[in-house]
């Protein structure tokens, strides 16, 4: 696939001032993109693509089709860019849209699983060593456990415990108050803990972590 991608990249007539646009402030980028400047869109994409990809992957788990979700995220960002009231807060807007699209995708995958359209094995590309095998099993169990949570709880878990966001950032990304975020997070933690207690794989993994940590 790589040669093809490179060929496609070569065929794109990127503007020479792309790097300069990427370095521009979010306010300028948003204003330019709202006026239809495709270079500004590219700059926004190049600035936030890594964040979006990481967030999507962490939300949905390992898998080959996260790129489609990322594309959808950016298409939605560019479509709703004119709704951004504070252009300086583009980062939060991107995170919010990414989480929204990811939640939709998680719901869609759950429905597919219900009707029997099970996705490919998502953990096949992880390491194969003994230790990595144990971690792979734990990761599979972890995402299996996350699948049992609601899309909202999953989003809270990813932002708080995977992305390590502060509670205020979590609240902003989910458009909820700080107290609501705290309450929901507390409830989420108790649910996760209960599910971990019910999962031997995760319990074993947590035990090994504890031993490793203590040593």
């Amino acid at each position: 696939m790589a040669p093809v991608h490179l060929a496609m990249a070569a065929s794109i007539d990127l503007p020479t001032a792309v790097q300069a646009e990427s370095d521009s402030s979010d306010t300028d980028l948003v204003c330019a993109a709202c006026e239809g400047d495709r270079r500004a869109c590219y700059a926004i994409w190049s600035k936030y693509a890594a964040l979006v990809q990481r967030l999507v992957r962490r939300f949905l788990g390992p898998g080959p089709d996260y790129q489609d979700v990322c594309q959808e995220v950016f298409l939605r960002i560019f479509k709703r860019l004119h709704q951004v009231r504070d252009p300086a807060a583009l980062h939060g807007f991107v995170v919010s849209v990414t989480l929204g699209v990811s939640r939709n995708e998680a719901r869609r995958r759950r429905i597919r699983a219900i009707v029997g359209l099970v996705p490919d094995e998502p953990f096949s590309d992880m390491g194969t060593s003994a230790g990595q095998g144990e971690a792979r099993e734990a990761a599979r169990a972890l995402y299996g456990m996350l699948d049992t949570l609601s899309a909202e709880d999953r989003s809270l878990f990813v932002t708080r415990f995977v992305e390590k966001m502060e509670i205020a950032e979590v609240a902003e990304a989910h458009a909820m108050s700080l107290s609501t975020a705290k309450r929901r997070l507390a409830r989420l933690m108790s649910r996760v803990n209960a599910r971990v207690q019910a999962s031997p794989v995760l319990m074993e993994y947590m035990g090994s972590i504890g031993q490793g940590g203590s040593s």
């Binding site: 496609m8 953990f123 390590k164 996760v192 803990n193």
Partner: protein
């Protein structure tokens, strides 16, 4: 408190470690340590998720596509569903539409009725080809049924002529006072006088069902028939038997040959005044019922079957049926002694003999000494007498010297109808019979038995049956004479068993007979009956019988 905080911290730590595991699992290079956990915080690691230019190329192309595509294409499922819904709603609204019509020479009055504006009358032409012609001064209201299912006309006063084009699923009805006319495809005229309560309908084509008013049930009217009803009477006239004459108003439509197109067939007279048909004598509803009793047989057959004097009398009364006529089975007709002349004729022809006396209490004497009774089959309902007197041996009380019974007989239930193998419930629904024991002790007649006898009766025109039962035979075994005529002198050898057989056993004499009965058999139609035994004559000597023959 400390333990609670410790537990909370433990749960949070657990979630944080799970978060680190998720971060490690989703890194592009899978940086899992040999111990299976991260050596460094994933958020602090340099990201491997650097975007590739081809990804932007794809987004750029999608942005172009989406900007080119209009809302119609992007939301085509919603648009398609909307279009389908709109089509369905539009179709439903269109189909729900009522029949359209145009008015010629008509106008709406202040009370919403339609009336003719010209002396020639007015016309309502419907889009399906049906037409309603209003005579002068006629008033009606239209109720158009949705989905073009037809029209209901509330005739307030006057006369209207209709030519209704038959379509499947349509229903046309006319309400005139308390009368109702249900229409299929047909041509006819209706006249209703609000002031006098007089209702009249004359058929040109097709058939309608008339109900309401004094009619207890529905009456089917066919082409050529007309019905006139007032507040207390109903008369049905068969215009087919009337010689054509220069017609006016309704009569014109009755005597003309029907044109091909019903819509163009209505040609109202200029005056549109209604005139009673002068030539055809009105035939009473009871007479129509008498025709129905005759069944499917033609007038010629009936005339041939009846004695000449009776046939001529019926012809004079215009009672010979020209075709099978529907009648209202529930309307008990007036008693009509249409065979009285026949009975009188038979009486004249007979020699003098011993006349059985019918006592005031129903006790017979002078020839027979037994009591008179009434028996009935399962499908028979009696109005006179109120109860069956066969079981308790209560004698039938005479009415002015006549032994009468009235009621209704249900139609036979048959299988293989119209085939030689037809089977009906004759044994259960056999009709009604007025009978009398030959002796008071209900034994056989014995040595006092006559050699011949005759029963005079009057009643509705029907095929009656005279039965004789021999003492000791099962009740169902009867010797009988089919189509017994009033006053007909019969000998024992004329009684056969079974009844329908022409070669069955015959009675050797009347000595073994314990009772006779005159039966009104059930038929293929539900029918109301009323008949009376007027007299019984016995012929004790063979010489008398020979003289009578």
């Amino acid at each position: 408190m400390k333990e609670e905080r410790k537990a909370t911290t433990s749960v949070e730590t657990c979630c944080e470690r799970l978060g680190e595991l998720a971060a490690l699992a989703t890194q592009a290079e899978g940086p899992l340590s040999h111990e299976g956990h991260a050596l460094e915080r994933p958020s602090e690691r340099p990201s491997d998720d650097s975007p590739a230019p081809w990804q932007w190329a794809k987004i750029d192309r999608l942005l172009d596509d989406r900007s080119r595509k209009g809302a119609l294409l992007r939301f085509w499922p919603a648009v398609a569903v909307s279009v389908i819904l709109l089509a369905c709603v539009g179709g439903w609204l269109g189909a729900r539409r009522t029949l359209g019509y145009g008015l010629e020479g008509c106008t709406f009055t202040s009370n919403g009725s339609l009336t003719a504006t010209t002396s020639q009358g007015g016309t309502i032409a419907f889009e399906d080809g049906s037409r309603v012609l209003l005579a002068q001064n006629a008033q009606l209201q239209l109720r158009l049924l949705s989905f073009k299912r037809g029209v209901e006309i509330d005739l307030r006063d006057g006369e209207v002529s209709l030519a209704v084009v038959h379509r499947a699923g349509t229903h046309w009805a006319i309400f005139a006072g308390t009368f109702r006319v249900d229409v299929t495809g047909t041509r006819f005229a209706v006249n209703w006088s609000e002031s006098s309560g007089r209702f009249r309908i004359a058929m040109t084509e097709g058939e309608v069902r008339v109900s309401g008013g004094v009619m207890m049930g529905a009456t089917m009217l066919h082409a050529g028939q007309s019905l006139t009803a007032t507040k207390s009477t109903v008369e049905v006239t068969d215009i087919r038997e009337v010689k054509p004459e220069p017609a006016q108003g309704i009569g014109e439509a009755s005597t003309r040959e029907a044109p091909a197109a019903p819509a163009n067939a209505i040609s109202p007279s200029p005056q549109h005044t209604r005139r009673e048909p002068s030539t055809p004598p009105l035939r009473r509803h009871s007479e129509m019922n008498a025709e129905a009793m005759i069944g499917e047989k033609s007038a010629a057959q009936t005339a041939q079957r009846l004695p000449k004097p009776a046939a001529s009398k019926l012809a004079a009364l215009n009672l010979l049926p020209s075709a099978s006529v529907e009648y209202s089975p529930l309307s008990v007709p007036e008693f009509q002694a249409v065979v009285e002349s026949e009975a009188a004729h038979a009486r004249v022809a007979k020699p003098t003999a011993k006349r059985v006396t019918i006592g005031a209490d129903g006790q017979l004497s002078g020839g027979f000494t037994g009591l008179v009774w009434v028996a009935k089959g399962e499908g028979t309902k009696l109005t006179t007498p109120k109860r069956v007197v066969w079981e308790d041996r209560t004698p039938l009380q005479p009415e002015q010297g006549l032994l009468c019974t009235r009621g209704t007989v249900a139609a036979l239930s048959c299988v293989n109808e119209g085939m030689p193998s037809i089977v009906c419930n004759w044994s259960l629904n056999w009709g009604v019979a007025v009978g009398f024991f030959t002796r008071a002790d209900e034994n056989a007649w014995g040595s006092e038995a006559a050699t011949a006898m005759a029963v005079e009766f009057r009643g509705r025109l029907n095929t009656y049956r005279l039965n004789a039962h021999r003492k000791g035979d099962p009740p169902e075994k009867l010797y009988c004479i089919e189509n017994y005529k009033s006053g007909q002198v019969v000998k024992p050898s004329m009684f056969q068993s079974p009844c329908s057989s022409n070669s069955g056993a015959t009675l050797p004499n009347f000595e073994g007979v314990d009772y006779f009965s005159l039966q009104f058999p059930s038929g293929m139609n539900y029918v109301a009956f009323r008949y009376c035994i007027a007299g019984i004559t016995v012929y004790p000597f063979p010489a008398d019988v020979a003289a009578a023959e």
